[in-house]
């Protein structure tokens, strides 16, 4: 990220750089932290862990509340904690977390039905927003919901979250707009999820797979949310693309930064249910197995493809980084794929300088930039920072 920051300061558009990892999962958090430190906004082209996002939690809290019927005060207000807002007249929404906390303190203990809570709440608070909320709950509380009811509860709740709660977050956001960025991406995903859930619930009711209940809806949400979705681009012209190597195929960007070029990651073993001996037989196509289709993920082939295409995507140069030790102090070897590259190694001193308070771009990397007039630079290797 220090490299990106320096390269950008030399007038290179961040859209001209792509960061590539074999598998983004372990890199999403560290790269996000580094990006914020260097004032770069990252866009991850990967599955958002939707189940850990606020709009998903909102949908789940609503399903749980309606499924449970008699509830204590905490689950009753759980959707508010996840920033529920009314479909219309949303000025003053969502409620502050401290306000919700104060209400919880004031409300009596014990379980009550939604109708009982609606009657109880006005005797404990004068906050009209709670009355609005309870009225909405009562209007939609249907123990055996039809797909239409599910759509009418979840759809407008997510719409209101998008219209009211995301902008509210934006006002109180960190410099890199990461929270808003995540909330916005999550909202798009959850909006689609709600459409899918409504549709699938309808289908499953029709063929008798489930009967009408909010529990069934909640389970369906979990099932659909944990599916690997199609990936989507979140367009943000000032942000840097961070992608998985397979997804880079056919792209062309001036500078590619490949992270994690270690022996453990590139190549990495892929889980398969096929016994190793059978994999080998099919890979070699010996005898009759020549007609059986091999899976190239069994060997190194697929990772080799992904790595090679990440290198090919670079127009001007590639910066390869790797770490040399694990957190436990074990040595980590470089990826064998690096042997095929003609690289220039950035010295330890240049790397230290790069991440210092007076950062300087290592000369080998500076040579990749347009100002140098070097049209066919050699790829460089720097160590992971």
């Amino acid at each position: 990220m220090a490299t990106i920051s320096e390269v950008r300061d030399r007038g290179v558009n961040v859209r001209d750089i792509a960061v590539v990892a074999r598998d983004l999962d372990p890199y999403e958090q560290p790269l996000t932290r580094a990006a914020i430190q260097y004032g770069v906004t990252p866009v991850f082209w990967t599955q958002l862990r939707v189940t850990r996002t606020e709009p998903y939690a909102l949908v789940k809290a609503l399903c749980t509340l309606f499924a449970d019927g008699d509830v204590a005060a905490t689950p009753l207000l759980a959707p508010l904690t996840q920033r529920w807002a009314p479909p219309t007249d949303a000025a003053g929404w969502p409620l502050e977390q401290s306000t919700i906390h104060a209400h919880l303190e004031a409300l009596p203990s014990g379980r009550r039905s939604i109708a009982e809570w609606a009657a109880t709440i006005p005797t404990h608070t004068t906050d009209e927003r709670l009355t609005t909320y309870c009225d909405w709950l009562q209007a939609h509380c249907e123990p055996e919901p039809t797909p239409e009811t599910v759509g009418a509860v979840l759809g407008p709740s997510i719409d209101a979250y998008r219209e009211t709660s995301v902008p509210a977050r934006q006002q109180a956001d960190a410099p890199a707009l990461m929270t808003t960025e995540t909330a916005a991406r999550a909202t798009v995903r959850v909006t689609r999820l709600v459409e899918q859930v409504t549709h699938k619930y309808d289908e499953w009711l029709a063929d008798g797979t489930v009967s009408r209940s909010w529990d069934a809806v909640r389970e369906l949400c979990e099932l659909l949310a944990t599916q690997r979705p199609g990936r989507r681009e979140h367009s943000n012209a000032r942000a840097i693309d961070i992608m998985e190597a397979n997804d880079v195929w056919a792209l062309s960007v001036p500078i590619v930064i490949a992270v994690g070029a270690t022996a453990a990651e590139w190549p990495a073993q892929t889980d398969s249910v096929v016994p190793a001996e059978l994999q080998e037989a099919v890979l070699s196509g010996a005898g009759e197995t020549d007609i059986v289709a091999p899976r190239t993920m069994w060997g190194e082939g697929r990772d080799r493809d992904h790595f090679a295409d990440a290198m090919r995507a670079a127009e001007r140069g590639v910066i390869v980084t790797r770490y040399t030790q694990t957190g436990d102090g074990d040595d980590v070897h470089p990826s064998p794929f690096l042997a095929s590259l003609n690289m220039e190694t950035v010295s330890g001193q240049a790397r230290t300088q790069l991440v210092s308070t007076t950062p300087q771009l290592p000369p080998a990397i500076a040579a990749l930039l347009p100002a140098s007039g070097d049209s066919d630079p050699a790829p460089s290797e720097t160590s992971h920072e």
Binding site: V282, E288, V292
Partner: protein, 273 residues
């Protein structure tokens, strides 16, 4: 980057297919203004389609000569031309059905006994993975299943058992699912049905894709059996040029294997379940 032409001896299903590695440029240069698409660009990975479209946009080239699509969608369109719209289960449906497998061994399908008894943690997701991997290797074609069984027999005892469990298990999962739905088990089943139609003649091709002169299969890092057979069917039913755009790490290997994979008779045919 090399251009490799395939040579087959058995039949010339493969003579229509040429393979390329790292030559996406060929495809991008064909961008032209046409009234209707003349080239199907089959990209199994959604982002690859968008990457090509982004490259075309960056060069301000028109996209209307191309129809960017995945193979399953082509199969669906070919079948829709012939029947009422075919429907298939998705992964969520399959997992839900597998969740309802009886827990009593006596009520379970025979083929699943070894899987469910020796590996007690075999849940719906693993059963589905077994089904998917077997389908990817064989497309449930009788010759490929037989070949797998034969090679399996040659292994040492415990490994042979494990491999047999996998083959029987994959077929049993597929059967269990088929018996529980009027829909197709998966999109891949649509691909197989379309392959059989193509292999038997025109398969709705001329009707649905009258202007397509070329089919490019792009971003290919692996060619699962269902895709191989679909390509085979396309070779039989159409005179379109087929370009296979392979990738640097696997191009040579896949080019060597492809003729044998394509040599199968009656592509799309399924083992009797």
């Amino acid at each position: 980057m090399s251009t490799l032409r395939l040579h087959t001896t058995a039949q010339d299903a493969a003579s229509q297919i040429s393979t390329y590695c790292g030559e996406e440029e060929r495809l991008l240069e064909r961008a032209d203004r046409t009234a209707t698409p003349t080239e199907l660009v089959l990209a199994p990975t959604e982002l690859h389609r968008r990457n090509l479209q982004r490259r075309l946009r960056e060069r301000a080239r028109p996209q209307n000569a191309f129809e960017f699509v995945d193979p399953e969608t082509v199969a669906e369109k070919l079948l829709t031309a012939a029947d009422t719209t075919p429907t298939s289960l998705d992964r969520v449906d399959r997992l839900a059905l597998l969740q309802s497998l009886p827990s009593e061994p006596t009520d379970q399908p025979l083929g699943l006994h070894p899987l469910l008894s020796t590996q007690h943690d075999t849940g719906p997701q693993q059963l589905e993975q077994i089904r998917v991997e077997l389908e990817s290797m064989t497309n449930f074609h009788p010759d490929r299943i037989a070949a797998l069984r034969n090679v399996t027999d040659a292994f040492a005892g415990p490994i042979a058992d494990e491999a047999t469990t996998l083959v029987d298990g994959g077929l049993a999962v597929e059967t269990w699912l088929r018996d529980r739905t009027v829909k197709m088990v998966s999109k891949t089943a649509l691909l197989r049905r379309a392959t059989r139609r193509l292999d038997g003649g025109d398969g709705g091709w001329t009707d649905r894709y009258p202007d397509i002169e070329r089919i490019s299969f792009v971003g290919v890092s692996s060619i699962p059996a269902p895709e191989v057979d679909f390509l085979h069917g396309l070779c039989t039913a159409t005179t379109a040029d087929i370009e296979l755009h392979l990738r640097p790490g696997t191009a040579e290997y896949l080019t060597t294997r492809l003729p044998d994979l394509l040599s199968i008779e009656d592509p799309g045919q399924e083992v009797t379940l």
